[in-house]
């Protein structure tokens, strides 16, 4: 009796975890590679739910190519090497046709060799440092020229002359700050007007740094902080800013990793006026957006949940993939990949996103100010879409490299001086 129960439970677990294998022939499998436990669970669980919602939606419309979609969810547990193993499991064991996943750059780098070896297809939804274009990855988040550079331009326009580049100590902030530093210097900002500061992950004691920023900003030139501080460390940082009396009118902070989701864990009253640069804000005034929010609330059964930029990236990526599959009539990776180029889909801010041949999107850039209700008020936006640039123009080495996955170049790192691809795959 007991044995049977356990067997039953195991079957049930298998059904929930990986869905039933018997149905596999009639379904198209969509892999979801987001951490559901560990440090990154805070951000990535939401994205898992987003993909599940999109799959459910698509199935209501009759699926794709007459087949139902089936989501296969695995948990890489915020463990970077485990991402590679789980990606292999998705592709080899579950034979998924596409993967939506990853958040941190280091996890993406860990997955890359696997996804290229097995010729999979990955949609990566988070803003990142660029300097990469893999044949098997579509980058639906922002490249630096779709987030960091416009934000700095906006602040310069507001009369900012002194810059604090504050970040968490890992690859994304380091690369972004390197790009920004050289960009600022080309704009004539002197070296002594740039202060760069790195802190460990989860840093919680910001007293000294905030006090330094305060005195750096008291030198008579208008100062701003460009923050690539990651996730958790932001709450104590903003709290300390508020407590030491730094107002957004005096020293505004523009953040690239703080969205609606992160703000939902903070009392935002002291943060009003600080900025963030994204390609999407929940407050975007567009009908598609209102529909999306309504669907999200209905799916997650919680009216208080917010939407954010990486969710929009998944929304665009998923729908583009569906369109590409329908256009090519198959889920074969190479065919779908070629069909992706030039595909358009309405984004949630009222415009249209385009997938380019360098595997990056054309999207608008929005600058928003934090409001007391935890939402952003758009104060500036690019007139049209900005084409994502895989290799930045502001680092001497990268400026000569382009990515284009169509003939005649057909590679992700083509050097226009030597006329060759570097040979590395990504």
């Amino acid at each position: 009796m007991q044995g049977k129960t356990i067997l039953g439970m195991a079957t049930a677990a298998a059904t929930f975890g990986f869905a039933v294998t018997a149905m596999a022939a009639d379904t198209i499998k969509v892999g979801v590679l987001h951490s559901l436990s560990g440090t990154m669970a805070i951000s990535e669980t939401t994205l898992k739910d987003t993909v599940l919602m999109l799959v459910e939606e698509q199935n209501k419309k009759g699926g794709v190519l007459g087949k139902k979609l089936e989501a296969v969810v695995v948990d890489p547990a915020s463990d970077w090497p485990l991402f590679a193993e789980k990606a292999r499991e998705l592709l080899e064991v579950h034979k998924v046709d596409v993967v939506f996943g990853n958040w941190t750059s280091v996890s993406r780098k860990s997955v890359l060799p696997v996804i290229e070896e097995l010729n999979g297809l990955l949609f990566y939804p988070v803003q990142y440092e660029g300097e990469e274009s893999s044949k098997n990855v579509f980058y639906t988040g922002a490249a630096p020229n779709q987030q960091a550079i416009p934000a700095v331009d906006y602040l310069m326009d507001q009369g900012i002359q002194r810059w604090v580049l504050a970040g968490t100590d890992y690859v994304y902030p380091r690369t972004t700050n390197k790009i920004l530093e050289s960009y600022l210097k080309t704009k004539g900002v002197a070296a002594e007007d740039i202060m760069i500061n790195y802190t460990p992950f989860g840093h919680s004691d910001w007293q000294t740094i905030v006090s330094d920023i305060k005195s750096f900003g008291a030198a008579g030139k208008k100062t701003a902080v460009v923050s690539t501080i990651n996730g958790d460390a932001n709450v104590p940082f903003y709290k300390e800013l508020g407590n030491q009396g730094i107002k957004a009118e005096d020293i505004p902070v523009v953040a690239f990793s703080v969205g609606e989701e992160e703000l939902s864990g903070i009392d935002t009253a002291p943060l009003v006026g600080h900025l963030a640069a994204w390609n999407y804000f929940m407050s975007a005034d567009a009908e598609v957006n209102e529909d999306f929010i309504a669907k999200w609330h209905a799916f997650i059964k919680d009216e208080k949940r917010v939407t954010n930029d990486p969710m929009e990236a998944h929304y665009i990526g998923f729908n583009m993939w569906v369109k590409a599959v329908e256009k090519s009539g198959t889920t074969d990776v190479d065919t779908v990949r070629s069909a992706m180029y030039g595909i358009t889909y309405p984004n949630l801010t009222g415009g249209v996103a385009v997938m380019n041949t360098n595997h990056h999107l054309t999207k608008p850039v929005l600058i928003g100010e934090i409001q007391s209700d935890g939402q952003f008020e758009t104060v500036w936006q690019t007139p049209g879409g900005v084409i994502g640039d895989a290799w930045t123009d502001f680092l001497p080495d990268s400026a000569r490299i382009v990515a284009d996955w169509t003939a005649p170049i057909t590679c992700g790192n083509f050097n226009i001086d030597t006329g060759k691809c570097s040979g590395q795959n990504y």
């Binding site: 805070i42 919680s204 989701e261």
Partner: protein, 538 residues
């Protein structure tokens, strides 16, 4: 609700002031200029604010204040400019100028008149200029302060008039500084030079910004003024240096007290009992979540929530600790490796449990008003209230624990059991229960630490992990089994960290501290204060 009351009171003051003004501006003109605030772009809004300010009519004050706080709306149907106060899911609206209540409307019936940072600064200035004649001394003082950085010399006549009328000495002093700062910015050269000299020694940050601006060649063509401004700024900074050192010391003591809070429970479970409890951080986390739950259960009592949370968190974490000791740890006494692994496993279980119950997202714990902001000792030195409260709280807690261990019978039994278990047992002490209670006590203290830490950092499933390494570091460094050693260890590490941080950076600073501790432990394996006597020999 409270807001409305203050707001209406403010309106009355303004109305009274308006009546006192000899030649009130025609109501129609005021209304037109208020309407103009709803311009299409931010530049247009800026112009409208200037136009409104030029009327110098205090009746515009509530409108400007509402705009600054993002409460000014246009009612879509009637195109009226209204002030909206959020009430549940809709807005209670009032006429912007008359303050007349216009009922409750849905959010989508209103279009917010949005502002950006530049406008917010502009509004602060306009409000400052209008509020100089306010009836409230504090309002006049903050109005003068608001003028220091951004106002240009055109405001001087109004400021002079306010200064001449001012009765309060302190407010007059603030106005005097503001006057000098504004005068320094432009006008006749000799007056500017005199004004700059007058600003020497004024430790106000905004005044220093003004001086800094004047010392830059890009902003100031006159070399003589630049030189004087640079000199004055240097002199002011020199007199502020002493306060800078005091500030660093405060930061150090504050970091030290956070470390102490996190480590003090561990000093009991690890230090006194010798249990390597990797789940200690999760006890802290439970305390922080208790605070969150209390705030959810009593949403009306945010101001007292921390006071309620302290005993409750002690009980919750303490109870979990007792259960842990009875069900797992007591079977593993004397086997440190197994204890380490088992408690590490438990810590993961507790984290995932919290993740399942409360979701993996961080929870927002509200900071009570009395813990927000800073105590301004003077313009150069301000101590933030939350840090100050935590320093005091830590030391009170420390004294209570020390007294309990020293003077209570529970403390006596505890010390007896840890020093000589067999003898204590022979004397009739139920050593099993003393073990469980001691472990529960240590865990409960960790819970209390969690209440305090919920004010400083994120309340999320990973909260405990951030503090576990630091806690062990402090206990080992201070000397295992000695609460005073733990205290001194925490303070030493905190202050050393903060003194080093400005020149080494936060990342390198942490590494240096770790290297230092490793070297120190090589020299003195039992920490700063080693236990002497029989207990130490095991």
């Amino acid at each position: 609700m409270n807001f409305i009351r203050t707001f209406l009171a403010g309106l009355l003051v303004v109305l009274a002031a308006a009546m006192a003004t000899p030649a009130p501006v025609s109501a129609g003109e005021l209304e037109d200029r208020v309407k103009a605030l709803d311009a299409k772009n931010f530049a247009g809004k800026g112009k409208a604010i200037e136009a409104l300010e030029a009327l110098a009519d205090p009746a515009a004050l509530p409108v400007l204040r509402a705009m600054q706080e993002g409460l000014l709306f246009r009612e879509k149907a009637t195109k009226r400019i209204v002030i909206g106060v959020k009430a549940a899911r809709s807005f209670e609206i009032f006429d912007a100028l008359s303050g007349e209540a216009l009922g409750v409307v849905k959010k989508r019936k209103l279009k917010k008149i949005s502002v950006n940072n530049r406008l917010r600064g502009r509004l602060r200035l306009a409000i400052g200029a209008l509020a100089l004649t306010s009836g409230d001394a504090a309002a006049r003082s903050s109005a003068a302060k608001a003028l220091v950085k951004d106002a240009d010399p055109t405001i001087l006549p109004a400021l002079d008039r306010a200064l001449a009328r001012e009765q309060e000495v302190e407010v007059a002093a603030v106005m005097g500084v503001a006057r000098a700062a504004i005068q320094a910015k432009g006008g006749e050269k000799s007056a500017r030079l005199a004004a700059i000299s007058a600003l020497e020694g004024v430790l106000d940050r905004e005044v220093m910004v003004v001086l800094g601006t004047l010392s830059q060649a890009a902003n100031e063509p006159d070399a003589e003024i630049r030189a004087l401004a640079t000199e004055t700024l240097a002199a002011t900074e020199a007199s502020g240096r002493y306060y800078g050192m005091l500030e660093t010391l405060f930061f150090g003591v504050s970091l030290g007290s956070v470390l102490l809070l996190a480590a003090i429970g561990l000093a009991i479970t690890f230090g006194v009992m010798g249990v390597i409890n990797m789940a200690h951080g999760e006890m802290i986390m439970l305390g922080a979540y208790t605070t969150y739950v209390i705030q959810q259960v009593f949403p009306g009592a945010i101001e007292y929530s921390l006071a309620i949370a302290v005993p409750v968190a002690f009980l919750v974490s303490g109870a979990v600790g007792v259960v842990l000791e009875r069900s797992v740890i007591r079977f593993l006494y004397g086997r440190p490796l197994e204890t380490l692994l088992a408690t590490f496993g438990i810590s993961l279980v507790l984290q995932q449990a919290v993740r399942s119950i409360f979701s993996p997202l961080n929870r927002s714990v509200i900071t009570p008003d009395w813990m927000s902001g800073a105590l301004e000792v003077n313009a150069a030195l301000s101590l933030t209230y939350n840090r100050l409260t935590i320093i005091i709280f830590t030391f009170v807690l420390l004294l209570m624990i020390a007294a309990l261990l020293r003077y209570s019978s529970f403390g006596l039994r505890m010390r007896a059991v840890t020093q000589n278990r067999a003898m204590a047992s022979a004397m009739g002490i139920r050593t099993n229960w003393v073990d469980a209670l001691t472990f529960g006590f240590g865990s409960g203290i960790a819970g209390i630490a969690g209440v305090a830490l919920s004010q400083l950092t994120n309340v999320g499933p990973n909260l405990g992990q951030q503090y576990i390494v630091d806690s062990f570091m402090v206990v080992v460094f201070g000397g295992v089994g000695n609460i005073w050693g733990t205290t001194l260890g925490a303070m030493t590490l905190g202050i050393a960290n903060k003194v080093m941080e400005p020149w080494s950076g936060a990342v390198l600073g942490k590494i240096l501290i770790l290297v230092f501790i490793i070297l120190f432990i090589q020299k003195r394996p039992s920490g700063m204060f080693a236990l002497k006597g029989r207990a130490a020999e095991n």
